[in-house]
């Protein structure tokens, strides 16, 4: 660092210390944040400048500020603007000082504050990204239940958009359930899938063929009219795979295939008779 720059920098530090109350007050007005938070940051800034510019403490406090303001519903731009407000607050002190050192120092200080402002932005983005990652993981775990509908019949109600990773999880879970329960019939219900494109259809077909290889029959149910239309328009062939409009139809089909007859006599009670195959 040249002597000039060093002098300028020291002048700024002096200004910051001398006019602490005034600058802090002005900053609070500009940033519209609580004065305790800002004065903590202000003091941390002074200490780190004294200790030769180690900004670790400062960054910690700024990260905290960024988080708390994000929780209060401020955008990251608001937070960064609040930090930039310190420049404006200091400028008044620099103006009244009027010396060339103070002006040169202000440029240096301005760059420092820019960095810190961008740092709050970065903190915000990192926190956001972590939340998104966590949620994606939770979604993957939560959204793939395999339910038993009847002895020997299991169903997978799929909800949400299907991508390769999710279909892989669903497929593995379904096949493992087939092994564990010895179920011979599986129903894949896609009522909750918003759209079916060629890729999703491909994934579904793979799941069905894999289940068939293991010795289980797969029925796809819950195909809504628009989706049926899309599938036909895309020219996707489901071949000899059984498809049903609703889960109830699919269950009835699976029951029939496993030789179970559901009869509804005069009363509303259901009687179930199992035939030995």
């Amino acid at each position: 660092m040249t002597v000039d720059a060093d002098v300028a920098r020291r002048r700024i530090e002096e200004l910051l210390r001398e006019n602490e109350t005034q600058i802090l007050h002005r900053w609070t007005l500009i940033a519209k944040a609580s004065s305790e938070e800002l004065s903590d940051i202000y003091r941390a800034l002074l200490t780190s400048l004294e200790h030769g510019g180690d900004l670790a403490d400062m960054r910690g406090l700024l990260a905290e500020l960024s988080r708390s303001r994000a929780r209060q519903g401020f955008t990251p731009a608001d937070t960064a603007r609040a930090v930039f407000g310190l420049k404006e607050a200091l400028y008044e002190a620099v103006e009244s000082d009027g010396g060339p050192e103070a002006l040169r120092g202000f440029i240096w200080f301005s760059r420092l504050i820019d960095d810190l402002g961008l740092f709050t932005f970065e903190t915000y983005t990192t926190a956001r990204e972590r939340i998104i990652l966590d949620q994606a993981e939770q979604l993957l775990e939560l959204s793939t239940p395999v339910v038993k509908l009847w002895e020997g019949i299991v169903a997978v109600p799929l909800v949400g958009t299907l991508d390769s990773a999710r279909t892989q999880v669903v497929m593995e879970k379904l096949l493992q359930t087939l092994v564990d329960t010895g179920a011979e019939h599986a129903v894949i219900d896609i009522t909750g899938v918003p759209a079916v494109d060629t890729q999703v259809a491909q994934h579904l077909l793979k799941a069905v063929v894999a289940a068939r290889l293991m010795g289980a029959e797969c029925v796809i149910s819950g195909i809504r009219p628009q989706i049926a239309h899309t599938i036909v328009t895309l020219g996707i062939e489901f071949g000899d795979i059984v498809t049903k409009a609703s889960l109830a139809d699919a269950l009835a089909h699976a029951l029939r295939r496993s030789g179970i007859e559901v009869i509804a006599p005069k009363a509303t009670r259901l009687a179930v008779r199992t035939e030995n195959v």
């Binding site: 593995e172 096949l175 092994v179 793979k206 010795g215 195959v277």
Partner: protein, 121 residues
């Protein structure tokens, strides 16, 4: 070279694959099986692959070939006990084993053969 034993149960032949198959054993198995089907006049063949953890396209084709051979000799083939990972691998390889019947386990495989024969006879 390891040979896979072929067990006879009534008019059904049961093959349980419990070793890592190399190409030689596969070819030997195909020949042995064709011989046995003719000798015993078997009507059904069950291939149990519960213990098989890794498959490649060669094994996949072996299953299809055995099924085709047996069908020529008037015996139905059922592959039983396929693991999920194996099933996924076969699908990814593009082998859907068109002409092969499958069942979840040996018991269900035998039931399936009985059912099929009941329907045809």
């Amino acid at each position: 070279m390891d040979r896979v034993p072929i067990l006879k149960l009534g008019d059904i032949l049961i093959i349980s694959i419990q070793i890592d198959l190399d190409d030689q054993s596969v070819l030997a198995l195909q020949e042995d099986l064709a011989d046995s089907v003719v000798t015993h006049g078997a009507r059904g063949v069950i291939i149990d692959i519960t213990a098989v953890e890794i498959v490649d396209s060669f094994i996949g084709r072996m299953l299809a070939t055995i099924a085709a051979t047996s069908r020529l000799l008037d015996a139905q083939t059922v592959v039983v006990g396929m693991r999920p990972a194996v099933a996924i691998t076969l699908v990814e390889l593009g082998l859907s084993l068109g002409g092969v019947r499958t069942a979840l386990n040996l018991e269900k495989g035998i039931a399936l053969l009985d059912h099929v024969r009941g329907a045809t006879s």
